[in-house]
C-alpha cells in the first residue's frame, strides 16, 4: 500500500517535471519598477520626472527625439531645414502616423500642440522653450513651418523633451488620466498607488516595433521593498534603483544584469547668493574647497557617481571638467575665510530635504565644513511640499541640496527669480548668446565659458553627477542604461530567446 502510494507520487512528479521541461512560450511582457508614481500622465502640464519616465517615447512622441547618447534624431518629423538667419524651421512630417484613437497626425497637430504650450495660460513646466516661437504655418498637411522671433540654438533639442510632445486636440482635457499619443504603446490601465499598464500599439507607424505585447510600471518607494520585489521575481527590472548601498549585492547575483549608467542629474548644494556671508565669492570658494566630493560619493552613494566642478553633466555636449578649479584643500579654505574676514568662522542653516541620499550628504558636508570653522545647522525640510515653499518660493534658506534632473539647464543661473539668487551680467550675456547660437561647436564653446564662471564663482557647491543604477533580468535586452533625459524607454526592449 505504502509503496503503491510512493509509486503514484513518483509518477506524478515525473509528469510535472516533463511539463516543466517542455519549452515555455517566449515571454513577451515586461514589468519594471519605479520609485515614484507619476502624478498624471500628461508631460505637457506638470513637471515631475516620473510623468516623463512613463509617458515619453512610450505613449507620446515629439517632432524630434534624443538617442541613447543624447544626440537629436528625427521622430514625428522625418527631416527639417533651418533658414540661414536661423529664424525659420521647416519640418517635413512623417506620413501615416495616427494617434491611438485614430486621429491622423499632420501639421495642424503641430500648430495646435506648440501654440498650446506657449499660450499665456499654459502651465507647461518648460514654457520658456516655446517663448521664441513667433508663428506656426501649415502650408500643407505634411509640412510645418515655425518662425522664431529670435534665434534659439537649442530649439530642436528642446522639441525632443517630453514637454513638447504632439497631442490630439480632442483629448488634451483628458490626457492626464487617459493619455492618447502616437507612441509604440497604448495606455491600458492605471491602478493608482500600484501600477500603470501599457499594451502594444498594433497600428504603430514603425512596423516591427515594439516587440513586447505589454509593459507594466510598478511603483515601489521603499528601497528595501524594491530589492525584495526584484529578488522575489515580482518585477523584471529596476532601471533607476534608489539604494546604492544595496546595488553591490545584486552585482554578485547572476540572475541580474547590473549596469551603472550616466545621467544629466547634478547633485548641487545651492547657496543663497543674496544673503551674507554667502554673497561673498571668497566665502563660497572657501566652502567649495572645504568639501571633499569623493567623500560624499563614497559616503552617501557607495562610491557610485562622478565629481563635477560646475553645473554641467559629463554627458552633456560641451562639458568641461572643472573639478580642478577649487579642489579639496581645507588649509586653503581657512585662508580664504580669513581673507574674507571670517577667520573665526560663521554659522549658516542648511535646509535639508528628507531623502536618504540628501540626508547623508548633508551630514557629511556638516562634518567637512566644521573642519574649517563653518557651522552648518541642518534643518530637515519635508520634500517636496515644505522644501519647495521655503527654498523655491520664499528663498528662506542659506544652504540646501537637491538633484537637478534636467539636462543642459545652465540657464537657471541667469533666471532672476531662481532660488540661487545669483546675479552676474557677464554670465547672463554668455548664456543668452549661447541659447541663440545655432552652430553647435560655437555654442559648446560659450557654454564652456559659462561653466568656468560658475566653477570660479560657485553660486552653488558642485558635488557630483548622479549615476543611474540599473538592475534588470540578465535575459532582458534593449533597455537604455544611460539617461540623456528622464525616461524609461521600452520601445526597443525584448527578451533573449
Amino acid at each position: 500500500m505504502i509503496t503503491n502510494r510512493i509509486g503514484r507520487g513518483l509518477a506524478l512528479a515525473a509528469v510535472a517535471l516533463l511539463c516543466g521541461a517542455s519549452p515555455a512560450p517566449a515571454k513577451d511582457t515586461l514589468t519594471l519598477g519605479m520609485a515614484v508614481e507619476p502624478t498624471g500622465l500628461d508631460p505637457t502640464i506638470s513637471a515631475p520626472v516620473a510623468i516623463r519616465e512613463v509617458t515619453w517615447g512610450n505613449l507620446y512622441e515629439g517632432l524630434t527625439t534624443l538617442d541613447k547618447d543624447g544626440r537629436i534624431q528625427p521622430l514625428l518629423a522625418t527631416s527639417w531645414t533651418v533658414s540661414p538667419d536661423g529664424l525659420t524651421y521647416t519640418f517635413k512630417l512623417r506620413p501615416g502616423v495616427r494617434f491611438h484613437n485614430g486621429t491622423p497626425f499632420d501639421s495642424s497637430i503641430v500648430k495646435f500642440s506648440l501654440d498650446r504650450a506657449r499660450a499665456p495660460d499654459s502651465t507647461n513646466a518648460q514654457k520658456q522653450f516655446f517663448a521664441p516661437i513667433g508663428s506656426i504655418e501649415t502650408p500643407d498637411p505634411m509640412t510645418a513651418v515655425i518662425r522664431l522671433k529670435q534665434q534659439a540654438g537649442l530649439f530642436l533639442y528642446h522639441l525632443a523633451w517630453g514637454d513638447a510632445v504632439m497631442l490630439d486636440p480632442k483629448t488634451v482635457g483628458t490626457n492626464k488620466t487617459d493619455p492618447i499619443g502616437t507612441g509604440p504603446f497604448k495606455f491600458k490601465a492605471w491602478q493608482r498607488g500600484d501600477r500603470v499598464e501599457l499594451a502594444r500599439n498594433d497600428d504603430y507607424w514603425d512596423k516591427g516595433v515594439p516587440k513586447l505585447a505589454a509593459v507594466t510600471f510598478r511603483f515601489i518607494g521603499d528601497a528595501q521593498a524594491q530589492a525584495a520585489a526584484l529578488r522575489a521575481g515580482d518585477i523584471d527590472g529596476f532601471p533607476n534603483f534608489t539604494a546604492p548601498e544595496l546595488f553591490g549585492e545584486f552585482q554578485k547575483d547572476a540572475r541580474f544584469a547590473t549596469v551603472v549608467g550616466a545621467t544629466p542629474r547634478k547633485l548641487v548644494a545651492g547657496l543663497n547668493n543674496s544673503k551674507p556671508p554667502l554673497d561673498d565669492a571668497r566665502v563660497r570658494r572657501a566652502m567649495m574647497q572645504a568639501i571633499d566630493r569623493k567623500a560624499i560619493i563614497d559616503g552617501a552613494f557607495s562610491g557610485y557617481g562622478t565629481p563635477i566642478g560646475s553645473h554641467f553633466a559629463p554627458t552633456d555636449p560641451g562639458y568641461v571638467d572643472l573639478t580642478g578649479v577649487l579642489p579639496y584643500d581645507p588649509a586653503k579654505a581657512r585662508q580664504l575665510l580669513a581673507e574674507a574676514g571670517h577667520g573665526d568662522g560663521f554659522t549658516v542653516t542648511m535646509k535639508c530635504p528628507q531623502m536618504s541620499y540628501t540626508t547623508r550628504s548633508c551630514e557629511i558636508m556638516q562634518a567637512m565644513l566644521s573642519e574649517v570653522g563653518i557651522t552648518l545647522n541642518i534643518v530637515p525640510s519635508e520634500f517636496p511640499a515644505k522644501w519647495i515653499d521655503e527654498v523655491f518660493v520664499k528663498y528662506d534658506y542659506d544652504v540646501t541640496i537637491i538633484d537637478h534632473a534636467e539636462p543642459m539647464d545652465i540657464d537657471i543661473y541667469a533666471r532672476p527669480a531662481y532660488y540661487f539668487r545669483y546675479r552676474n551680467a557677464a554670465f547672463d550675456d554668455l548664456v543668452a548668446k549661447a541659447d541663440k547660437l545655432a552652430d553647435e561647436a560655437g555654442r559648446s564653446k560659450l557654454y564652456g565659458e559659462a561653466q568656468k564662471i560658475l566653477a570660479d564663482e560657485v553660486p552653488a557647491l558642485y558635488l557630483m553627477d548622479l549615476p543611474r543604477l540599473n538592475i534588470w533580468d540578465a535575459k532582458l535586452q534593449g533597455l537604455w542604461p544611460n539617461e540623456p533625459i528622464s525616461q524609461m524607454y521600452v520601445r526597443d526592449a525584448s527578451w533573449a530567446q
Binding site: E37, T39, G40, S46, A47, P48, D121, S122, T123, N124, A125, Q126, K127, Q128, K176, T177, Q191, R192, G193, D194, R195, R218, F219, I220, G221, D222, Q224, A225, A228, A229, R231, A232, G233, D234, E382, P384, A385, K386, I388, D389, E390, F392, V393, I402, H404, A405, E406, R415, A417
Partner: protein
C-alpha cells in the same frame, strides 16, 4: 432607549461638523501648495499662478470650505490635484484594499487573541497561561511593520511562496486575497497580543464574581461556566478594544501598507499629504474621523445590548 439613541445621534452629527472645521483649518495652515509641487524645480511665478487658478487654489478659504461641504452632500467630493480624478472614486479604490485588509486582520486578531486569552484564563498559572502570556509579550513588543519585513524575508524572497508586495486588483479574488494575507497577519499579531491580555484579565475578573460562583454551585460544567457566563460577561471590555482596533487598523495601516507596497487608504493619506493634495487629504482625514466617531457610536450601542444595566442609565 429610543431617546438615548437620538441623543447620541445628535452629538454624533455635531462631532462630525466640528471635525470638518478642524480638518479644513489645520490642513490650510500647512506650508506649501499643490501647484508649486506639481511644477517642482521648473516652477516659475507665472506658471504657479496659472495652475493655482486651474486647481481653484486661489479662492478664499470660506469659499473652498463651503464648496467642499455642499459638494459632500451632493456626492461630489472634488478632484484630486495630483491625479486629476474624482476623489470619491480614488478613496473607494483604496478602501477596496484597506477595508478587507483591516477586516481580515481583525478576524485573525480576534480568533487568536480571544482564543489564547480564554485558554490563558482557564489554565491560570499553568502552562497554557504561561505560553499565551509569553506570546502576548512578544506580540506587544514587536511592531507590525517589523513582522511584515520578517514575513517578506521568509515567505517571499527565501521561500518564494508569496510575492513581496503589491496588489493585483479584485478581478482575480484569489490573487487579491493572497496579496492581503501576509500584511493582514503582520497587522493582526500585535492586535492579537493586546486582545490576549485584555481577554485573559476580563475573564479572570468575571470568574471571581458571585454569579459565576452561583453557576458553578448549581453544578454547571466548567466549560459551560466559562463560555456562557464568564466569557459572555467579559465581552464588554473585549468589544471596546475590538472597536478601537478596527479604526486603528484602517487608519494605522500606513506602515504595513508601505512595507507591502499596498495601494491602501493609509498610503493615499501619506502621499496626498506629501503632495499637499488638500482636497484628497481633507476627505481622507474626514473619513478617518468619521470612522472613529462611528465606531465609538456603534460600540456605545453594543454596550447597551450586551449589558442590560447600562440601558437604565
Amino acid at each position: 432607549m429610543g431617546r438615548t439613541i437620538l441623543r447620541r445621534l445628535g452629538s454624533f452629527a455635531l462631532t462630525l461638523f466640528v471635525a470638518s472645521l478642524l480638518v479644513f483649518a489645520v490642513l490650510d495652515l500647512l506650508p506649501g501648495n499643490a501647484a508649486a509641487i506639481l511644477l517642482g524645480t521648473a516652477a516659475r511665478p507665472d506658471t504657479i499662478a496659472a495652475l493655482e487658478q486651474q486647481l481653484g487654489l486661489d479662492q478664499p478659504g470660506y469659499v473652498r470650505y463651503l464648496a467642499w461641504i455642499v459638494g459632500a452632500f451632493t456626492g461630489d467630493l472634488g478632484r484630486s490635484a495630483t491625479y486629476g480624478v474624482p476623489v470619491g472614486g480614488l478613496i473607494a479604490e483604496r478602501l477596496a484594499v484597506t477595508l478587507p485588509l483591516a477586516a481580515l486582520a481583525l478576524a485573525i486578531a480576534v480568533a487568536l487573541g480571544v482564543g489564547l486569552g480564554v485558554a490563558a484564563a482557564a489554565g491560570q498559572g499553568r502552562a497554557p497561561d504561561r505560553i499565551a502570556s509569553g506570546l502576548a509579550q512578544v506580540g506587544i513588543a514587536v511592531p507590525d511593520f517589523w513582522f511584515g519585513i520578517l514575513f517578506i524575508l521568509l515567505f517571499s524572497t527565501t521561500l518564494h511562496w508569496f510575492s513581496a508586495g503589491g496588489f493585483p486588483s479584485w478581478s482575480d479574488p484569489a490573487a487579491a486575497m493572497k496579496a492581503l494575507l501576509l500584511p493582514a497577519l503582520a497587522l493582526a499579531l500585535p492586535q492579537a497580543a493586546v486582545l490576549t491580555r485584555v481577554t485573559r484579565s476580563a475573564v479572570l475578573e468575571v470568574a471571581g464574581e458571585d454569579f459565576v460562583r452561583t453557576a458553578r454551585a448549581k453544578g454547571l460544567s466548567a466549560r459551560r461556566v466559562l463560555w456562557r457566563h464568564a466569557v459572555r460577561n467579559a465581552l464588554v471590555p473585549i468589544v471596546t478594544i475590538v472597536g478601537l482596533q478596527f479604526s486603528f487598523l484602517v487608519a494605522g495601516a500606513v506602515l504595513v501598507e508601505n512595507v507591502f507596497n499596498l495601494p491602501g487608504i493609509g498610503r493615499l493619506a501619506y502621499q496626498s499629504l506629501a503632495q499637499r493634495d488638500l482636497i484628497v487629504i481633507r476627505n481622507v482625514a474626514m473619513l478617518f474621523a468619521g470612522l472613529v466617531i462611528t465606531v465609538n457610536f456603534l460600540v456605545d450601542l453594543a454596550y447597551l445590548w450586551l449589558d442590560p444595566r447600562l440601558r437604565r442609565a
